[in-house]
């Protein structure tokens, strides 16, 4: 049995030490703080049990429950669209076009911009008299113009659109890496057998792509539940709290010095995400081994 020797724990040790000291310990410390009333504007820290959690589920001290529901809305829609668009782009740019490298770079570009920069820029682009509406008017779609980030009906949707704009290329990139690990011989063999493009996609591409699809779906979900920068810089949670998500609440609680509550919110989003992400992983990865 070579496994013990060749796949030994010592390979895990460097990552484990770094990760435990600089990540797990601070995180656990944060979780402990969530059971206190630590507020940096007042001296003294007291243990308050689950009081912060009770306040969250009664929305006492902030629009916590509304934020949780906005976060879910944001996550579900962005995960679906990011993954589909990313897959579409990856398939379009995997091979065939000579200029595919240029296009890949273009689609990846938004991800290279820091989210806050994207926020700053899109606030201008999406203004009522901004370039986006100008463009719509120019191509005869004037009735579709909106004050995108400040109307109740479009604010949250616009933040989602910007997030999808930013991340579609990232999805493409990971899926491309997956596509490129599919041996060309499989397609050649299938062609000889007279398989159609659809059959090749179902029988070769999808099964091979499943690990990378799992990766992007799970990561998209996590990113969605943890969304902050984009919303913060586009709307600041406004107008009137309509785009408030959990992490904008965390930021505000930190700003108010209410560390106990800020950490409790962090724990809530953490638990929600762990449950969802692990069950998704299990469902998606589980299927692979059945192949």
């Amino acid at each position: 049995m070579y496994k013990k020797k060749y796949y030994g724990l010592k390979f895990v040790v460097p990552a484990f030490i770094l990760y435990t000291v600089l990540y797990i310990i601070p995180t656990i410390a944060g979780m402990i703080i969530s059971f206190t009333d630590w507020n940096i504007t007042r001296p003294g820290v007291h243990f308050v049990g689950i009081q912060n959690y009770i306040n969250i589920f009664q929305s006492k001290g902030g629009p916590y429950l509304a934020s949780i529901s906005h976060t879910f809305e944001f996550t579900i829609i962005t995960v679906i669209l990011k993954t589909l668009l990313g897959l579409g782009l990856a398939l379009l740019l995997n091979k065939g076009l000579k200029s595919r490298f240029v296009f890949r770079t273009i689609f990846f570009l938004p991800y290279a911009l820091a989210p806050l920069i994207i926020g700053i820029s899109f606030v201008s682009v999406l203004k009522p008299d901004g370039p986006f509406n100008t463009l719509l008017t120019a191509i005869g779609l004037e009735r579709l113009t909106h004050s995108w980030l400040t109307e109740a009906s479009t604010a949250l949707g616009s933040t989602m659109a910007v997030e999808i704009w930013r991340m579609a290329g990232w999805n493409m990139m990971i899926l491309l890496a997956g596509l490129q690990m599919i041996p060309e011989e499989y397609y050649e063999a299938a062609s000889i057998d007279g398989a159609t493009a659809g059959q090749k996609f179902r029988k070769i591409t999808l099964p091979f792509l499943r690990p990378s699809l799992t990766t992007v779906i799970v990561l998209n979900t996590i990113h969605g539940l943890r969304v902050f920068d984009i919303i913060y810089s586009l709307t600041g949670g406004g107008p009137g709290g309509l785009t408030e998500v959990i992490n904008t609440q965390v930021f505000k609680e930190f700003g108010l010095g209410r560390y106990g509550m800020a950490n409790a919110l962090n724990v809530v989003i953490f638990i929600i995400t762990v449950v969802i992400a692990l069950s998704m992983q299990k469902a998606l990865r589980g299927k692979e081994s059945n192949e």
């Binding site: 460097p14 770094l18 990540y23 995180t27 290329g169 990378s212």
Partner: protein, 276 residues
């Protein structure tokens, strides 16, 4: 025969046109940033798509000086560069054995790392920890922190890719007499170039664009990187849109170059990957 060729040509043209239209949606806002970086302050105030009267290339030299970008660039390269090596090496090693050994302990360890993708970074307690280690406000501290923050993602990313490398390959190498380190670094790791380049680019970018972590862990402005310099610049010159956009372009440029270089390797690394 001719018909088939024409059909192929049409298909390719449609393909090209479709992708072009899509990329237009991406390029429009980018164009917006670039064109506004080349205007005078007055022109940039309207934030339009219009061309500037005269291209103000001087904006770039001015912003490099005003925001001390040369130093910031060096800082960013140091922090993002070293941290990415740390997390790629440690992450790839850990992920490898975790994916190969499917015992309870290893599965639990995998989940332990996976949690890092989810739990938000707690800056206050992290600062406490670094202070305890006497690493607050040092390059070493921030590099180790950036490295650590990248580990969960890399473990996760590699995990999926290792599964697509047949175990028979490992066995063959073992029979050939490879040591564990040789097996990993000489046989397995090179096969994962697409994943490694992907992880490298994404983590480098993550560290490059992360401006909140340095705010808490590095105090001294002289040690801050390019992204932080933008935000400070934005705070001090919040009406000089031309300068802000020039600053943005300069910050994104190195990332793009890295991506372009990376792409070349992704492709060359693919050839014959799994054939072994």
């Amino acid at each position: 025969m001719n018909n088939v060729r024409t059909l192929k040509k049409i298909k390719r043209t449609v393909h090209f046109l479709f992708v072009s239209v899509c990329s237009f949606l991406i390029l429009l806002p980018i164009y917006f940033i670039v064109i506004n970086s080349l205007k005078t302050v007055e022109e940039s105030r309207t934030l339009s798509f219009a061309f500037p009267e005269v291209f103000q290339w001087g904006n770039y030299t001015e912003v490099i000086k005003a925001a001390s970008l040369v130093r910031a660039f060096g800082n960013s390269m140091l922090m993002a560069g070293v941290s990415v090596i740390i997390c790629i090496v440690t992450g790839a090693m850990a992920s490898y054995v975790l994916s190969r050994r499917q015992t309870k302990l290893y599965k639990a360890l995998y989940i332990y790392f996976f949690l890092g993708l989810i739990a938000p970074v707690n800056y206050v307690t992290t600062l406490f920890t670094l202070k305890f280690l006497h690493l607050q406000n040092t390059y070493v501290g921030i590099i180790l922190e950036f490295g650590t923050l990248g580990i969960p993602f890399l473990v996760f990313l590699y995990y999926g890719f290792y599964e697509s490398i047949p175990r028979e390959l490992d066995e063959a190498a073992v029979i050939d007499g490879c040591t564990p380190a040789q097996l990993f670094f000489k046989v397995i790791f090179p096969l994962l170039k697409p994943a490694t380049i992907t992880g490298l680019v994404l983590n480098f970018l993550g560290a490059w664009n992360d401006f909140v972590t340095p705010l808490y862990l590095l105090s001294d402005n002289k040690k801050l990187g390019m992204t932080n310099s933008i935000y400070n610049f934005f705070g001090e010159h919040f009406n000089d849109w031309n300068m802000i956009f020039a600053d943005i372009v300069l910050t994104v440029l190195p990332i793009l170059i890295l991506y372009l270089i990376g792409q070349k390797y992704i492709v060359s690394g693919t050839a014959g990957a799994v054939k072994g």
